[in-house]
Symmetry: C2
Subunit: 468 residues, 2 copies
């Protein structure tokens, strides 16, 4: 791999014009990191193509000179997946932000990768339709990034994740060839699902330049409920009890006491800061289905160890409670200089055990860890409130992370439920995969990107070309 | 590739015992074909492993001698995907039929590949749970075959297909290595989704020996409705009207007049044989949600060109109507000696156009084509009632197939919605894929099965080893 040189920069300028090729350090600086703590690098140039043909041409210029390429959108990623390679090219797709078609008859929307996630659902809503995936960053994240990371969100319990809504992708391959993967049909089994291989591949197999998404009819009604608990285990048990009753609400989110207090400090919305845990539950569907489901949930909660169960009386009230959950990361991030957001996930029945373990780890290593997340999915976000300038504390963070990951894998969990592996998690990946499946990852990468120039070093380190 | 020889057969007998290795023509005959018309071959041997280790050992014996291997379950496939290679090995997984674990707390079931599809839903039902995919062959098809073909079913409109329920797979790779792909967590984004690459790969990338499936809470109620129409176009329009009202019922199936008459002849259940088309609609969920949805559907149908709309008065009545749809293939298959079941799918909004085209093609080529299928998914099963001994008629069938596929692709459709490519559709596959994505299929196959011994010649013909 080589850093980018003047001849390639000249070629890029000829292709895109001067304004869409940044090379000065002061201009490229904002593209040197993403939402992940303590990871950055200085890109050699940042380019802003606006068409698939331009993306292909940029890739050819890079590939011919063996220059590494990192694709990015808004840079909200939480695993370092869009941190540049020093001296390499950053392909920023923010300016490919056109909505190409909303097809209400077929319940689909076709967009460019730079479209903001929330905008997709807003456009759908205008037609009575619904785009369910709602990652925490939806107001600024791009759909291209969501596809690259297979992003989740707060409605995952009932509606699944980004993968469940991607019908087709236009991708530019490492050699600049353009391929359409997938289908405009709701059912299509022709050939291998290359589309699914690209979803969640974190920019390491190709560059997505167009996304065809499935939409659903918009639920007519939504209801919101909260419950507080004297312990996290009691909250986890309540979630298990709800599922044991064969109820799968749209959303079952939680905040622990640390997070509750930070959010209340930040947003002043009257949260019960004396509770050890707050559950946020939402149901959607027809009004009668919502009423029935929330009544059933309330019965389970009242039979559980819940301290207090409240149903939002108005949409405004519901909005306030949702804000509490959505503000969790921002609120925690204000407390200390460095925020490290974890993303471990365990089978639902092991939640209480995992939560207990995180508490013990925090105590053992004298660390401040707020925990919130998608309890119904078993997806926890232990959030380390720390300071990267304190070497001793960072060492303890490392030890704590190791202990959390070890327990996660022991419980049959995953090192990442929705943030991706990127740079942040790659040292743990071989522990999760068996030898044969880990080797397969490398063989797939070698096949799709033989020179190893697409987002190099993310997910795993590739064997040098020629070896496999 | 070589036919199997005595040394391999001896090795297989030593491994599995004589009773689980068939070599006589009279014994292997039933494994020489599947549910697809006019395709068969004589296997060199049929083996019945019962553990992952035995499957791996069988594969190693085959691979070392470069003997092709075709995996099969019940042989209900409709694209020739489990037709053997002449002289090769058939790996029959029917005896790997253990249910390993039903985990009600995590809403999962773990099974071996030879478990019958319907049994999975029956076991789930005992726990108040639900396995939605219900391919037409569910009473005899195996889950391993469903995974290989990514099977659909009658509930696909609301609940999706097999892929949407597969959380994890144990697979034996071509070299006999064993890999676990996927996760017991409902969210997991660690590494490429190799699991999704294997789902629908039709036995060409490895052998699935264990499947972890997601279950849902079982809907409390179900309602069934039928509507008849004076033309297929009117029925297709009614389906579009329902979706335009943002209603997505569990099921929207249809039968054309040819199919209606055959079913009535076969099952004598009082179907309206004078109608040009019958729609079968089902709604499920809570009782109130079902009542609301069916009422809304009824309003749309009554405003459409429907001749008659009927709601099933009892579960018995509903069962009768479902049987009419489930019996369609069997009923059509009785009419002429050879039944060729097509599986084209188009975006929903192009349904009426596609149905008109099929009628015109049947007339132009003087063929009898019954049409039924999953109208809500745009998935049609034009069914040729023909006789493979009549060379002229078979030539007209070929011409008609070409014309149907051409129109399908022109409308943005797929050559197969749920039956797979196998042998039956492979000549059409390059028309659906662009050059870059078609080349990718071959590169993936080459990576996973470099000798090309796993289900060779299915989906596409592989370039000889060494070329890529």
């Amino acid at each position: 791999m080589n850093p980018i040189q003047q001849p390639q920069i000249d070629a890029l300028r000829a292709l895109l014009g001067d304004a869409r090729v940044l090379t000065k350090a002061i201009d490229t600086l904002p593209y040197g990191f993403d939402g992940t703590a303590a990871l950055s690098a200085e890109a050699g140039c940042v380019v802003f193509p606006t068409t698939t043909a331009e993306v292909a041409a940029c890739l050819r210029i890079a590939t011919d000179a063996r220059v590494p390429v990192v694709t990015r959108g808004s840079g909200t990623g939480l695993s370092g997946g869009s941190v540049p390679v020093a001296g390499g090219m950053v392909l920023c797709l923010n300016q490919m932000d056109r909505v190409l078609e909303l097809d209400a008859a077929n319940l689909t929307i076709r967009v460019e990768p730079g479209v903001i996630t929330q905008k997709i659902d807003e456009l759908a809503a205008e037609q009575g339709l619904f785009y369910p995936p709602d990652p925490g960053s939806q107001k600024i994240s791009t759909i291209g990034g969501n596809v690259a990371e297979n992003s989740g969100g707060l409605r995952g319990l009932k509606y699944g994740v980004t993968r469940d809504y991607v019908m087709g992708l236009r991708v530019v391959l490492a050699d600049g060839e353009v391929a359409w993967l997938g289908s405009g049909c709701v059912k299509d089994v022709a050939g291998y699902s290359l589309r699914d291989l690209f979803i969640g591949s974190e920019g390491t197999l190709g560059v997505v330049t167009e996304v065809l998404l499935k939409l659903l009819p918009r639920p007519a009604a939504r209801g919101t409920m909260t419950a507080t608990f004297a312990s996290m285990e009691a909250a986890a048990q309540a979630v298990s009890d709800i599922i044991a009753q064969r109820i799968v609400p749209c959303t079952m989110e939680f905040l622990d006491q640390t997070t509750l207090r930070c959010v209340e400090n930040y947003a002043r919305i009257g949260l019960p800061t004396d509770a050890a845990a707050l559950l946020l539950l939402e149901s959607d569907g027809s009004q009668s289905a919502v009423d029935e489901e929330l009544a059933a949930v309330r019965r389970v909660l009242e039979a559980s160890a819940a301290l207090r169960v409240e149903t939002a009386a108005s949409e405004e009230d519901a909005q306030r409670l949702r804000t509490a959950r959505r503000a969790a990361f921002s609120a925690l991030a204000r407390v200390r200089p460095t925020t490290i957001l974890e993303d471990v996930t365990v089978p639902r029945s092991r939640l209480a055990e995992m939560v207990r373990h995180i508490g013990a780890v925090a105590e053992r290593h004298a660390l401040q860890i707020g925990v919130f997340g998608h309890m119904g999915d078993g997806n926890l976000h232990p959030t380390f409130l720390t300071d990267e300038r304190d070497a001793d504390e960072m060492h303890r963070v490392e030890l704590a992370l190791d202990a959390i990951v070890e327990k996660t894998l022991e419980l049959g969990g995953t090192i990442t439920g929705e943030h991706g592996v990127g740079l942040a998690k790659k040292r743990f990946l071989p522990q999760q995969f068996d030898d044969a499946s880990f080797a397969l990852l490398g063989r797939i990468k070698q096949t799709l990107d033989p020179q190893g120039l697409l987002n190099p070093g993310k997910i795993f380190d590739m064997a040098p070309a020629g070896q496999s």
